[in-house]
């Protein structure tokens, strides 16, 4: 007999269905298709890869702290930066957001019992774990792990220049994780399109969910190109093809073209989820609605669309790409990003902002992403790119951006850890991690802008004392120690919070979206009861009925009618006429 999940009517008295006895223990975990279990799996696995990649980063900074450094051989150093980048980008930042947090939170935010395809969801996780393990297995091979950079440019990545099992494992690993991501993208889009609760129209979804929808579409656009390019590389390496080799009539630059058509949307796949987290967290901790909700949605979609049109800005120095087209498209991304920034500030504006750890990390995100974004505009100019491409200026730019995203990730962890575990993370330790991370990020990466302008190329295993790079490198390496401590304090926090729990309750933050309407952690199939959805903030409306946003209410006079907000108006400016009541159905209370 098949039991089908039901969305309970509001006055469902009984507890959740008791299913027949399922598996228990390890078998229960391995066979689970519950999005919450899969989300936690992804998050923990991604954090483990983060720690491994972080250790590699510390080795890199230890090497570069001194000129003429022989701490690591050139070969080992090249492996380190390759695997650091690969693990961070392919196995941490992406999976933790679209596999971890999104899997857990999106169904809850839209009032769904699970993701649309639970078994496909589970498969995504196992492919990710399998692929990630294969990549790390490279370290166990005789030639050692891949060492051609996380971008694997041809012809360097062919079997003549980089032979061995390590690079092969890297390629196969990414084919597996690529499929994992594509399946997650399918799941995200389908879930958001089909499983929203009654009344949860598209423009009432939380911005995190909107951003995950757009991320899902971007994944579907970008990852197949990457997977195909990897297969082509495999053919070059093992099947005698000459797709990327001049000798057989191939075109090496084609690899760059294909890779970056994936690679640039990929970095926005990494970024958009954290934009969404930050948006939701700032609104909650400012006790105000999101400022410019529709502008945010439009900006996110524009950023995603533009990001797929700019790929060759990574290839300005090849001399074979259309410079004006790609530089204009790259500049244009600043416009919707600026809209988002002003909307984040607008959300805080005249609000009542509490600087608990999630909000602190959001402010850190704003301050750091600004630096990364402005340096990105500089890089979008081909002449400036000629001077700074492949130098530490670029390294500083993307690390500013990525560390901002990591701060967004920590905002998400601190914000949703109570929902996922029923416990609070420690505030004091959280604040310490924040300051260590924020100061550490700036001390590590701001000097690298200067290093790039001074002419230090990237991916160099060592530099000479006469280069004049030493002092700035030393400052940068000192900053890395702060980042290490930030992560350490967070791990201590997670450990202490688990073993000596402070109970969280359903809604410790007085937040607004549907995930806060259910218990912490949520029960099987997520909801015993769902409040009526009449705005973007169903839980807030239920808890603060006198401070709601209303739709379809008639204004008394002009007043502040937010026409752009789809007819939503301030309660104070509105006199409700009798026909249009707060209760649009008797079951709403």
């Amino acid at each position: 007999m098949t039991l089908l999940a039901e969305r309970p009517a509001v006055f469902d008295e009984g507890p959740a269905h008791e299913h027949e006895a399922g598996p228990s223990g390890f078998l229960k975990w391995v066979t689970s298709t519950d999005h919450k279990v899969i989300g936690k799996n992804y998050t923990v696995t991604a954090l483990i890869f983060f720690l491994m990649a972080g250790a590699m980063a510390l080795l890199i900074r230890a090497q570069l702290a001194n000129p003429d450094s022989t701490l690591l051989s050139q070969h080992t150093y090249n492996e380190m930066f390759t695997m650091h980048g690969s693990l961070m980008i392919y196995l941490f930042v992406g999976p933790v957001s679209f596999g971890g947090l999104a899997n857990y939170i999106v169904p809850l935010q839209i009032g769904a019992p699970d993701m649309a395809f639970p078994r496909l969801n589970a498969l995504s996780y196992w492919l990710y774990l399998g692929g990630g393990s294969l990549m790390m297995m490279g370290f166990l091979t005789t030639g050692s792990a891949a060492d051609f950079g996380w971008v694997a440019y041809a012809p360097l990545s062919n079997s003549i220049n980089t032979p061995g099992a390590g690079p092969d494992l890297w390629i196969v690993a990414l084919i597996l994780t690529g499929f994992s991501a594509i399946f997650t993208g399918v799941n995200l889009v389908t879930t958001i399109y089909y499983l929203r609760a009654p009344g949860m129209t598209m423009f009432r979804m939380p911005i995190f969910t909107w951003n995950m929808l757009v991320t899902g579409i971007l994944i579907l656009i970008a990852f197949p190109v990457f997977t195909s390019a990897l297969v082509l590389l495999w053919c070059d390496r093992h099947l005698g093809a000459h797709i990327f080799e001049v000798s057989g009539g191939g075109v090496p630059v084609l690899w760059q073209d294909l890779f970056w058509f994936f690679g640039h949307p990929e970095v926005y796949i990494l970024a958009l989820p954290f934009f969404g987290i930050v948006t939701d967290v700032i609104a909650v901790f400012s006790r105000k609605p999101i400022f410019g909700y529709r502008g945010m949605v439009f900006a996110t979609i524009s950023i995603a669309a533009l990001s797929t049109s700019v790929w060759a800005h990574h290839m300005f120095t090849t001399g074979v790409v259309l410079l004006p087209f790609f530089s204009l498209m790259s500049y244009l991304i600043a416009v919707p990003t600026g809209i988002k920034f002003f909307n984040w500030i607008g959300t805080m504006w005249r609000g009542s902002v509490k600087f608990d750890t999630p909000m602190l990390f959001c402010v850190g995100f704003l301050a750091t992403f600004l630096i990364g974004g402005v340096s990105g505009i500089l890089l979008a100019s081909p002449p400036v790119d000629f001077a700074t491409h492949d130098t530490y200026f670029v390294v500083a730019h993307f690390h500013s951006v990525v560390m901002a995203l990591v701060m967004g990730a920590f905002a998400g962890f601190f914000y949703w850890y109570p929902k996922m575990t029923g416990r609070m993370l420690r505030e004091g330790l959280g604040k310490v991690s924040f300051w260590l991370m924020f100061i550490g990020t700036n001390v590590t990466f701001d000097p690298q802008y200067l290093l790039g302008l001074k002419g230090m190329p990237r991916r160099i295993a060592e530099y000479a004392a006469s280069d004049g790079f030493t002092t700035l490198n030393r400052i940068s390496s000192a900053g890395a120690v702060l980042l290490f401590l930030a992560v350490l304090v967070f791990l201590v926090n997670a450990f202490v919070s688990w073993w000596k729990p402070i109970p969280a309750g359903d809604n410790p933050w007085d937040a607004s979206s549907l995930e806060w309407a259910t218990s912490s952690p949520p029960p099987h199939h997520n909801f015993l009861w769902i409040p009526p959805v009449r705005s973007q903030r169903p839980v807030w409306d239920y808890n603060h009925p006198e401070d709601r946003i209303l739709e379809h209410a008639k204004p008394r006079r002009g007043g502040l009618v937010g026409a752009a907000g789809g007819g939503t108006v301030l309660l104070q400016d509105v006199r409700l006429d009798g026909a249009d009541t707060l209760d649009s159905g008797d079951a709403d209370r």
Binding site: K288, T317, S352, V353, F355, F386, T391, L451, P457, G562
Partner: protein, 267 residues
């Protein structure tokens, strides 16, 4: 905000305007943050664009940081029970902060295209032509005469490079010479993987690609010796793939070239 607040704002605005004028008229040089002013005319064009873009970027950043800081200070929670006015839209403001960045982008794009056309322009009759070949892990500079025949060659010794990087201007790395004030055209290609021909002091780098030749011009405006690096990761000894450039007076260059050709003939 009452009248005193407005007067305060006016005072701040006046101060900023005066200091900006003083800075500009006083002619003091702004910090370059380590960037090179450019030893070629192309490099100088890049420096100018970079300077203006950096100033614009810093102004934007300071304004936005200022707004963030203001929000963080002025709107922090003082009364735990107060729920602020739940506004969420302001169409005129939103339109303004969409339009202004668009205009800024348009202006930047205009100057960017002008500058990149200047940097990428190729002289029809360059004074000197050098074919540069990057290979794992060194460089070869082949001077060509007007018929395209090689008249001189400077290259990294084909024996394995030293284990650690040294000073790029030292004699163990190849140094090619260019005449001051005249246009040298470089034809850049790679013999194996993608390399990056990067001269920081010229504010310039370009990929050496296998099978595709990249042409570009240098018109030096200063004499001196300038370091060169490989800027595109190319394998094991990427960090040691160094070279340097020496810019000399045209007379000295002609002498040098004759010596090089004579040596090549004699060898």
């Amino acid at each position: 905000m009452g009248i005193p607040g407005v007067a305060k704002l006016r005072r701040i605005a006046r101060f900023l305007l005066l200091s900006t004028l003083a800075l500009g008229l006083g002619g003091c040089t702004l910090p370059t943050f380590g960037a090179f002013r450019g030893a070629t005319s192309q490099g100088q064009a890049e420096f100018k664009l970079w300077s203006w873009m950096t100033i614009a970027g810093l102004v934007v950043a300071v304004i936005v940081w200022g707004l963030i800081l203001w929000a963080v200070i002025a709107y922090r929670r003082r009364d735990p029970n107060r729920i602020p006015r739940q506004f969420h839209d302001n169409l005129p403001v939103e339109i303004i902060y969409t339009a202004i960045p668009l205009i800024i982008v348009g202006v930047i794009f205009f100057y960017t295209v002008k500058t990149e056309n200047k940097i990428d322009a190729l002289a029809p009759h360059p004074a000197v032509t050098i074919k540069v070949t990057g290979f794992q892990w060194g460089w070869s500079f082949s001077y060509l005469n007007s018929a395209g025949k090689q008249v001189a060659l400077v290259e990294t010794a084909q024996t394995r490079p030293p284990v650690l990087a040294g000073n790029p201007t030292s004699p163990e790395y190849p140094q090619f010479v260019m005449p001051l004030g005249e246009t040298t055209q470089v034809e850049l290609v790679s013999a194996d993987v993608v390399h990056g021909f990067y001269i920081p002091a010229f504010n310039f780098s370009r990929y050496a690609l296998p099978g595709v030749t990249n042409d570009f011009d240098f018109t030096p405006v200063r004499t001196g010796v300038f370091a060169g690096h490989c800027a595109q990761y190319c394998g094991l000894y990427h960090a040691e793939m160094l070279f340097s450039v020496r810019v000399v007076e045209p007379g000295a260059f002609a002498t040098w070239l004759n010596t090089q050709s004579a040596a090549a003939v004699a060898a």
